[in-house]
Amino acid sequence: MIEVVSAARCVTCDICIRVCPTDVFERGADGVPVIARQGDCQTCFMCEAHCPADALYVAPFADPVPPGSPHADEDVLGAALGEYRRLVGWGGGRTPGSRLDKNHLFTRRLRS
């Protein structure tokens, strides 16, 4: 589930609010999105891929993490914020991940 919106990194572009398929975010008073409906998060990682500021972190669990979890601690997570965007290959100077797709290699083995 979405666990971290980094106020330090956020550029208040509203993209995450706009693209979340389950409408999890609301705009906070300072413009930084707040996780208003975490229970609706389906852990699809799409917000993290679309965030241009690497300000989001989706923990890999289908339920909220307990208090004190490193998965909700921006300082511990560091470079993990926005990592999925890097893997998808979005952002300036990156190669689209689809260009590197090797799906056909192992689907060939699966068919054999």
Binding site: P21, D23, P60, W90, L100, D101, T107
Partner: protein
């Protein structure tokens, strides 16, 4: 209130809806598309990655592709439809390459390899093309019901705009339902928007469903996560908690062994049968597959990790709205269906073709439904926006009693999930367990039909809850009616295939659910 008119209205912004909107617009129709979430991130495709049933137009290769799944699907697919889908998919993939400039990988000779699509990239580009086609997109705007004219022809849809918290209505010449299948809020990757809403709308308009017994798809995921990618587990070995091998367990054959074991004890897994090349290929094929592992510090190739099975219902099952014509029309005038909202039996029979068949079906059926809807709307000769319409919604929106007591949408969802998620009810099917489950669901339906109702965003949830309840009842009624094992529908009490049931099963009805055999499909050796 947003009040619009259009020639064609498309419900759903996954690949099927996007293709329908583009093709309707290319045919000259004015188009409005509404999605529950956001066209570009919504649905089972956007957050994942998928192979595509893409086969070069070489007769021998096409023949092999069509023959390969016929037996698995219980010989319920149709060769003419398979051939049409292979042709249309081939053409659409060229458009994805040439118009959307999708960055396909290339082989050593620099030729594009067009046999797969990564969801985020594919759907981001589809959104761009939909917008450039002049389609008006309403994001975060779940449809809650269809509208019909005096003759019963579908004439638009209504719903709720979540961000503005206001209702919307679109009067249209024709409607395409591309709302996806139903995964019962199981948290399977990207599927929580897929609550079977379109099937409920279609049934309220009088349309039929088909193949609802083929609705017991379950996908492997690391326990406590959402990330389903069953294909990768073909390289896995499954283990008991003490580290001994779980005999007979597997991704393709032997998933039922995993389900049966999970009823008693945890199942562990390790992806230990992939070569170094295959490991690298997996990472590049669907990067989010590795997020749950990397972020937990698990090396899935070396470490044992617990797995679960997440219900994918009719998202990867093959049941859905029955298709009545080559243009993906339904039996109701003005209503078309595409993608996972529609039955995929025509190309898969009773066994999920996995992502590759579904993605080919989504782009093909979306194309035909969009074109068909545009033609139908043009045939109305400009009357589309002037007809007097009435709203068709019933359960969850217009209860038969209005005293306000009774279960809320959360209770309804929990009650439905308790009957459709457990492996020993839906996956490992037996008449002795299906029948009481259906009784519970029928009782839940009677309760919600009488009283369930809410406003605004909660009204949307109430409708989705009603749709899930309806879906579950169609599934189990059909599963009880098919007293044999065929395709993915495996009955422990009816283990054999019965030649007398070599036909599709049509299902329909809301307060009273019914079944009938479809006219038998043309004879194929079985």
């Amino acid at each position: 209130m947003t009040d619009l008119t259009a020639d064609v209205f498309v419900a759903g912004g996954g690949p099927a809806g996007a293709w329908a909107a583009i093709k309707a617009a290319e045919a000259g129709a004015s188009v409005v598309l509404a999605d529950k979430g956001y066209l570009g991130t919504s649905g089972a495709t956007a957050s994942g990655g998928t192979g595509v049933w893409y086969v070069e137009p070489d007769p021998a290769a096409r023949e092999a592709a069509m023959a390969s799944r016929e037996s698995l699907g219980g010989h319920l697919a149709d060769r003419d439809w398979m051939a049409r889908v292979l042709d249309q998919t081939y053409a659409n993939m060229r458009e994805i390459a040439e118009i959307s400039r999708y960055p396909f990988p290339e082989d050593a000779d620099g030729r594009q390899i067009r046999r797969g699509l990564q969801g985020p990239e594919y759907m981001r580009r589809m959104r761009v093309r939909v917008r450039r086609s002049g389609v008006r997109i309403l994001d975060h705007s779940p449809v809650t019901e269809l509208l019909a004219d005096a003759s019963g022809a579908v004439a638009g849809a209504a719903g709720h705009r979540l961000r503005a918290d206001e209702p919307f209505r679109v009067r249209a010449g024709a409607v395409v339902l591309a709302t996806g299948g139903c995964a019962f809020l199981s948290k399977a990757l990207g599927c929580d928007v897929n609550t079977g809403d379109g099937a409920l709308f279609a049934a309220e308009a009088g349309a039929e469903l088909s193949g609802m017994e083929f609705s017991n798809a379950y996908a492997i995921a690391p326990a406590f996560t959402s990330v389903t990618k069953t294909a990768f587990y073909s390289f896995a070995t499954f283990y008991h908690q003490d580290g001994s091998v779980l005999e007979g367990a597997g991704s393709r054959r032997g998933r039922s062994v995993i389900a049966r074991t999970l009823l008693r004890e945890p199942v562990l897994c390790r992806i230990d049968r992939a070569t170094e090349d295959e490991r690298r290929a997996m990472r590049l094929a669907q990067p989010n597959f590795f997020l749950p592992f990397d972020r937990q510090g698990i090396d899935p190739f070396r470490d044992l990790f617990p797995v679960t099975l997440l219900a994918e219902g009719t998202v990867r099952g093959t049941g859905g709205i029955r298709i009545a014509g080559n243009d993906c029309s339904t039996s109701v005038p003005g209503l078309f269906a595409a993608g996972d909202a529609a039955t995929r039996e025509l190309i898969c029979g009773g066994f999920t073709g996995g992502g590759s068949h579904n993605s080919a079906w989504a782009m093909s059926s979306g194309t035909w439904a969009g074109q068909g809807a545009a033609r139908y709307a043009a045939g109305l000769g400009g009357r589309a926006g002037t007809r007097t319409v009435r709203a068709l919604g019933e359960a969850g929106i217009r209860p038969s009693r209005a005293d306000g007591s009774g279960p809320g949408h959360r209770e309804v969802v929990a009650a439905v999930q308790a009957q459709v998620l457990p492996y020993d009810k839906n996956y490992l099917r037996h008449g002795d367990r299906l029948a009481p489950a259906l009784d519970v669901l029928d009782a839940a339906w009677r309760d919600l039909r009488a009283t369930l109702r809410a406003d605004g965003a909660d009204g949307v949830r109430a409708r989705s809850a009603a749709a899930m309840a309806a879906h579950a009842r169609w599934m189990y009624r059909a599963a009880l009616a098919r007293t044999e094992t065929r395709g993915m529908h495996k009955r422990e009490d009816r283990p054999g295939q019965d030649p007398a049931q070599h036909h599709r099963l049509v299902t329909g009805g809301l307060d009273e659910v019914w079944n009938r055999p479809e006219t038998p499909v043309p004879a194929v050796a079985s």
